[in-house]
Symmetry: C2
């Protein structure tokens, strides 16, 4: 962890690999994007007409294009389509109107158990990339990622790392998390939420609405979807087209000065 | 909690208030939105030119328009602008290139201590809304929200709720979280991450790039920003314009079939 510890000296994060790669940023009509942001409201009553499969797929693919921690892609998006499963999910969401009237239902799940395999795959992919791939990138997935995310049997390594970070942190900046399973879950949920926002904005852009729900029985949802033990249900997203009365009044936000601080 | 427990009978979530309210969804040129999603890459070297204040403000305001749990807005977005604070944050991010070369730096923070006040404000705002506001909405913020989110001194209420939920959950769907401080943190981070994605996509739409960072010393960042104890640093977002070599190669994603499941 020498590299991550040293803020002043060049390290694996501060060293810029010499690359000629460039992706030109396209011109974008920001007004169209702004309409997406402004018109996305939580819709609680939908018209129930199915969303074309093509649109759903595009929106789900867009979710996977969200930034995510170290590209470890700790997410999973379930498109709940069968009548039986849908019924189960609606019930697990206490029959709330957004779920009940939804044209499509998605369950957004974060996984804490996939990072290891994904890191190994990143190593393999980068190695296949040939000599142009910076060695540091491979080292990052081979050394840093396993060090940072491994918590060990019963979390013992996490526990030890907590002390290590504390003492190293006295003299120099050091990473502090994850050292508990809770931290790791937080980590996975965070990236997954970024994907969920992509999903909801995409639905809006393609003419549909959504409602993210957190009022549900996570235990029952896990059972219905047969989720493995490392999964967390991040949210259920109901989608469809808004109907009159489906938005419960004008948007309310507290004064933005409270939440935006220039320091 | 009778209402939330009963999936089959009408409850506060399943009952649709009779409202005439309608917001017409605008026509959106989805191609422009798609360009935002497709061209958003994590940029690790920026040109360092400042982003116009107007653009920054718009992007930050857009962050606050993200959906968030029960509209309790548990977020805070710091725009780190002063040289001194910026230097501190860069150091706390181990001097990583995205932070070092950033035109603007943002620290995205989740708060677990603001929900109570915000719920009370929602009650006051809704009451002011007059007779058109459904009584159920006021009840939701007055009764359900405090019941669900209060963990009590040393988390005692959360502990008791865990048992309550378990036993009630044997016969009917019931909410399961939050019953620990970790759950509450997860809850706040989740909504805040949705806002962070709005921020990053907005930057792209308005011609700028970003890089979300999780490699940082959260303890030092909290100290620099004098964050209260209920705060979690969700991510640091570096922003600016991409330069050649600032994107480390073409986007890599594993096969989407692994992450999207139709059930």
């Amino acid at each position: 962890m020498k590299e991550v510890n040293m803020a002043e000296k060049p390290n694996i994060l501060s060293t810029v690999p010499e690359m000629d790669y460039m992706e030109k940023a396209p011109n974008i009509d920001a007004k169209e994007f702004q309409k997406v942001i402004d018109s996305r409201r939580s819709v609680r009553v939908f018209d129930g007409e199915p969303i074309p499969e093509k649109v759903v797929n595009r929106c789900l693919e867009n979710a996977l294009l969200a930034p995510n921690s170290s590209n470890l892609q700790p997410w999973k998006f379930f498109w709940v389509h069968s009548d039986e499963k849908k019924k189960g999910i609606v019930k697990a969401c206490f029959g709330q109107s957004a779920a009940k009237t939804a044209s499509e239902l998605f369950v957004v799940v974060a996984s804490t158990g996939t990072w290891k395999g994904h890191a190994a795959e990143m190593v393999a992919l980068l190695k296949k990339g040939g000599p142009d791939i910076p060695k540091l990138a491979i080292q990052y997935y081979k050394k840093i990622v396993p060090f940072v995310y491994t918590l060990g049997f019963l979390g013992v390594l996490g526990f030890l790392k907590r002390f290590l970070y504390f003492f190293r942190g006295l003299s120099a900046p050091i990473i502090r998390e994850p050292v508990t399973r809770g931290h790791l879950r937080l980590w996975a949920v965070k990236s997954t939420a970024l994907g969920a926002e992509n999903l909801m904005l995409s639905l809006r852009a393609y003419g549909y609405d959504s409602c993210p729900m957190e009022g549900y029985d996570s235990k029952r949802i896990k059972k219905i979807l047969e989720l493995p033990g490392d999964s967390s249900v991040v949210m259920v997203v109901a989608a469809g087209k808004r109907v009159k009365g489906g938005i419960y009044g004008p948007r309310i936000r507290f004064d933005s000065g409270r939440f935006i601080e220039k320091v």
